[in-house]
Amino acid sequence: MANVSVAAEWQLLGDRYYRKPELYQPMRWKHIDLNRNKVACAPFGGPIALIRDDSKIVQLYAESALRKLRIFNSAGLLLSDAVWKNPGGRLIGLSWTDDQTLVCIVQDGTVYRYTVHAEPLEPNLSILGREHFDENVVECVFWGNGVVCVTETCKVFSISDFKNPMPVRLADPVAAAAETEELPHCVAVIEPQYTMSGNVEVLLAIGDAVVMVEEDEVQPLPLPPGDGPLQKMVVSGNGRFVASFTHDGRMAVFSTRFERIFEYQCESALPPEQLAWCGLDSVLLYWDDMLLMVGPSDEPVRYLYDEPIVLIPECDGVRILCNTSMEFLQLVPSSTVSIFKIGSTSPAALLYDALDHFDRRSAKADENLRLIRSSLPEAVEACVDAAGHEFDVSRQRTLLRAASYGQAFCSNFQRDRIQEMCRTLRVLNAVCSPEIGIPLSIQQYKLLTPSVLIGRLINAHQHLLALRIAEYLGMNQEVVIMHWACSKITASSAIPDATLLEILLDKLKLCKGISYAAVAAHADKNGRRRLAAMLVEHEPRSSKQVPLLLSIGEEDTALTKATESGDTDLVYLVLFHIWQKRQPLEFFGTIQARPLARDLFITYARCHKHEFLKDFFLSTGQLQEVAFLLWKESWELGKNPMASKGSPLHGPRIKLIEKAQSLFSETKEHSFESKAAEEHAKLLRMQHELEVTTKQAIFVDSSISDTIRTCIVLGNHRAAVKVKTEFKVSEKRWYWLKIFALATIRDWDALEKFSKEKRPPIGYRPFVEACIEADEKGEALKYIPKVADPRERAESYARIGMAKEAADAASQAKDGELLGRLKLTFAQNAAASSIFDTLRDRLSFQGVS
């Protein structure tokens, strides 16, 4: 029976079953001998890097003496290769970082980095730094994104994050004075994510002891006596345990503070070649042709291999790479055990069995189902779960069919569970296929997350699959398409711009909101400026488009786009860019043709670049604007007493105004301004004179009307008349000014005299108004009768409260409407004020004010 054969492949370690399904058999590669090579395998089914081990003496067959770095996927398919001729001595260690960069460290501490495409990533770093260039690295231990190196003088260096590589020298494990030539037996690291300090902790087995090295201190650890010296150490995946091999052939598991938890006496005292954790439950030791799996129970499991292997620890097991195959050694998941264990009568096993009967049209199927009715949901769940843990497609299918068969009979099972599992398995099977070569268990997949998986696929240039997966899982496809577009540009140097643009646009339009500007920026970086310009044309977001246009030197287009966007900030951005880059005259020419840019420039320059603005107006022939600027400056001079020194009559202010005047007079349209400037200069001269003669500094910068009034108020009528004639002040205005000036100084006699000089051109109403405003009703009465218009007379009477006279005048005017209005005003005024007064009284009771 099928069930039996499944369980027959399992090995029992203590009370747990382990299995070792083959992931790839055979490997796609040919003639690879792991023994001859240094090997780095990335976890999560990542790529495998091989390079001939130069510390071993090997026989060269029909191959070049030059060493080659070769990168394969997990199925042994060659991804890329590169000749290795890096200086710096022997290759000490190589490993993959989390983002799948291959890191190789050579003897002199130089770190070479490669992509999965075997392209070197510049610049190379040195882990030793400049001060220790003469040291030699003898050992290095990698973790996720970092590495620790030990030199032959037992100094410890570390790079804790290759994304931001900063070599740090850790504290010296041996006191400088001791100078033992002894090197550590073995090294292990506790990753920063598991330490209290958040920095890496390095465990070194030196002599009989173990010390822990940090950045600024060294701590001896309490290794139980008799266990040291340790030959090999490895830290568990959760950073809490250390598996080690002692000098006397024991495999011992300690806590990271070296309390012994477990030990096992091996047959050999020779330290194993490889020591690895398999999940958290067991430890693997590998000698020449034997792999020993030691668990908490006494009896280990032995596997024999007649070819070299490499152990690749994963979060839930260990992948075993051989020359010809790849296997995955894992604890059999409990759901799988419950179904396939020999003699299992668990509901899940019965359900699985029921499907078998059903397929064979046996009535026993129904019997089985009835047996497990109450626990059907668990059974279905177990089948779904077990399907997830299978690598074999046909077994996945059978398990899922069993689940769906069971689901039909249970009402309260979450229906999308099966769908979801199918979806996940499809993704896993797709990436597991040898062409892609990323074998992932469901647990690894969940830990890795789909988005990282997609990231790895696009990194490996598997864009189509990545896109399909993203689409299938309902994730954002932008990352994929963007990466594809950029890779496409890099790879298509031979394709002409227009053709390539077509190809790119065809795909880019799949994704709404994708940044064309980013793709264009990439094209520009690849030296394809024309393509960049064509691409950026398609970018809808001006805020991204404009800066890029500037960086590819398309200033004029940038200015057009910025202007179209309506975003003045972008226009300013372009403006300042061009301003800096071009000669002033060229700059002026550019902006003069663009109204918005020009206006913004003027606004900015008005605030902060006065002189430059003048140049602009001059060069573009806007003389009147220059004149305005000069005129404005003249006032600023006026405010600054230091600048207006010298003869006030020919002071710099007046000169500026005269210059402005002459500029205005250049164009016919500005004759009014020109005249005004001329008058202003004249006024300033007169005001200076007046200040000199009156010895009062009250004239400068007042208006012509004010000057006249001031003269009259001061009693200087001659000066007032002089100003009047000089500026051709109209009689009307003159009368208003004089009347109010006289009223201000309450010179009622002079006012009366003035009224009699001749018939006032503005009538007598202004006299009345001036008196009323000064609250001189008596004076007002002198003029009211003289007011010609009876209506105005009526209103004047009304204003001083003479209702009867007002009414008389109104009736004289035969204006009923006016009369009514007057009545209303009187009534309302009286009423309004009294009403409000009484209201206030009424409301101010009970302490409310």
Binding site: S565, D567, T568, Y604, H608, D706
Partner: protein, 596 residues
């Protein structure tokens, strides 16, 4: 009563907008730990007073200062500037920082630009060589709710900047604000715009929708059905007329700033020599809500009635025996007493102002100009005002009104009035005149005026306006129906199409667009039908029309819109968005620029 308005009954969820702004501000303060000196530009400070209480700022270890060129007086080592990204404000930061440097003071400077960083402002800081000392951030305050139905973009210089300087930053800001609203309330399907700036804003808004789409599928029905954009330039007549609603008059005489007036305590009947007090004016005040939009004449009557009835109650109270429930009623009425007193005091002050002959004369002249029949009388009146050196702003208001209704003045008159103006008020006002000319507000006549046609076609002058029981928006100006609101009335009712001929007579282009899901496929007519159906449904709420005034709106116009909104048969709630609440006064003031 608080100056921060109550927004609970707003047709759109304005409270969340305000809370968001509060939160963002508090986060800025929280992110800069410890004691700090917060320097706010005064105008922004006014806007913030509608969003957050000063006490709340102080809870976050803030010493509050106003932006000025004076050295910063504080012991704090952290100085946080919060200011609008205006070029002319940069000099203050520069002078502050240079001052500290010269004194050897080492401080940490943070500058938060409102609503966003500006390249030009940072350029100034760079040129002054202090950019590297400053950490720069943003405070994205785009919109401030003033009332349940009024939003302000707080761009008081928008009109002048775009009309005179050609700086259209404000238009982007407005589009961005509306786009941000769309993220909360859905893509507005119908956009109608009139005026150059409005059409541009509609255009930028569409661009933004392409660049950063609001996902319309998330929202079933967009809450705002129609957006109407209107340039102030289209109707500069209305703001130049004196507003005659209660709130409008308060603004004309006392200047309402950010929902409150500051006035002499004597006006409010408090006898404290020369002390100013601040009176908040918003709909949280029930009485104010009732009377703010009424013609002032009517307000006086209502206040009188209310006071009289209260007096009656009071006398009944003292004379006869009362049941407990009657007593309760009376006490409830008493609660409204402080409000009554407040508005009676304000109304009394207004009525002394409105009965002044200068005001009556001005009012009379406004009507004469709007009537557009007696050119010479108007010309002489304005000339006389200049001769009498009446306040420049008053002169400019009439001058603008006069120039617009005549589409400019004949060159002889134009030059004459300009000369008289310079003579009376000083040559420094050459710049003011230049500004007005650039904005087309006071200019040489270049074509025949079509004001009379517009006036007639849109029935702007309505005889027999009953201010007490109005049946037309003309009540807000006692006989003149504001042009802007007439246009909106048409736009809401039937779109631009029926009045296209008139629109062509007014400045600027107009546009009408469909957006979002409605943009294609459906024809105009089916959409009309469909939207008419959706208008009525959805839990009895009416759909919303957002009316945006680019360049400002007056209280009187808002009153007229509220009047429209309250009319029977109106299918929409009208919400107002504006660059700022303006009056003829504040508008004219922005153009006054002295050369000196």
């Amino acid at each position: 009563m608080a100056q921060i308005p109550n927004l609970d009954n707003a047709p759109l969820n304005f409270t969340s907008l305000r809370e968001q702004s509060q939160k963002e501000l508090i986060n800025i303060l929280k992110n800069n730990r410890g004691k700090k000196c917060l320097i706010i530009d005064p105008k922004l400070g006014g806007s913030l007073s509608l969003i957050i209480q000063t006490s709340l700022l102080k809870e976050h270890g803030v010493e509050l200062r106003h932006l000025s060129a004076e050295p910063i007086q504080t012991d704090c080592t952290k100085v946080v500037y919060l200011l609008r990204s205006q070029l002319d404000l940069m000099k203050f930061i520069c002078s502050n920082v240079h001052n500290d440097i010269s004194k050897g003071l080492q401080r940490e400077y943070y500058v938060y630009f409102v609503p966003r960083r500006a390249v030009a402002c940072e350029k100034v800081l760079e040129e002054e060589n202090i950019h590297h000392l400053i950490t720069i951030g943003e405070y994205p305050l785009y919109v401030v709710p003033l009332e349940e139905d009024v939003l302000s973009f707080e761009l008081d210089l928008a009109y002048k900047e775009s009309q005179v300087d050609g700086d259209t930053t404000s238009l982007w800001h407005i589009a961005k604000s509306i786009h941000k609203l769309e993220f909360s309330f859905g893509v507005v399907p119908n956009v109608r715009a009139k005026g150059k700036a409005s059409v541009r804003v509609a255009d930028i808004l569409n661009r933004m929708q392409v660049e950063e789409p609001v996902n319309s599928s998330d929202m079933v029905v967009p809450e705002i059905n129609t957006l109407i954009l209107l340039d102030r330039e289209v109707d500069m007549v209305t703001p130049m007329c004196s507003q005659l609603t209660y709130e409008g008059l308060l603004d004309e005489f006392l200047r309402i700033n950010n929902g409150s007036v500051e006035l002499d305590s004597s006006i409010m009947g408090v006898q404290q020599e020369g002390k100013k007090i601040k009176v908040p004016l918003n709909s949280s005040d029930k009485l104010f809500k009732e009377i703010r939009d009424l013609n002032f004449e009517v307000v006086v009557q209502i206040l009188r009635q209310k006071a009289t009835s209260m007096k009656q109650d009071y006398t009944e109270m003292t004379t006869t025996t009362q049941t407990v429930s009657e007593l309760k009623d009376f006490v409830r009425k008493l609660n409204s007493l402080p409000e009554m007193t407040r508005h009676i005091n304000l109304a009394q002050h207004l009525s002394t102002c409105t009965s002044k002959p200068t005001f009556l004369g001005q009012l009379d002249m406004e009507h004469t100009i709007v009537e557009g029949q007696s050119y010479d009388i108007c010309f002489e009146y304005i000339e006389e005002m200049i001769h009498k050196q009446e306040p420049l702003v008053n002169v400019l208001r009439l001058l603008i009104l006069f120039s617009i209704t005549n589409s400019g003045l004949p060159k002889k008159h134009f030059d004459h009035l300009r000369r008289e103006l310079l003579h009376s008020y000083g040559f420094e006002h050459m710049a003011t005149l230049n500004n007005l000319e650039k904005a087309g507000l006071f200019k040489k006549q270049d074509s025949k005026s079509n004001w009379l046609t517009i006036k007639r076609a849109l029935q702007l002058v309505v005889d027999d306006t009953d201010t007490a029981n109005p049946n037309d928006i003309a009540y807000v100006f006692s006989g003149y129906a504001p042009l802007s609101i007439r246009l909106i009335q048409h736009a809401v009712r039937s779109g631009w199409r029926p009045i296209e001929e008139i629109l062509k007579l007014l400045p600027g282009p107009h546009s009408e667009t469909k957006r979002g899901r409605f943009s294609s496929s459906q024809s105009f007519d089916t959409l009309q039908g469909a939207s008419a159906n959706t208008d009525k449904v959805t839990d009895g709420r009416r759909s919303i029309v957002l009316v945006v005034f680019i360049g400002g709106v007056t209280f009187a116009e808002i009153a007229a819109l509220r009047f429209l909104s309250a009319q029977e048969g109106m299918a929409y709630d009208l919400i107002v968005g504006t660059t700022k609440i303006v009056s003829g006064h504040t508008l004219a003031e922005t153009f006054i620029e002295k050369l000196g």
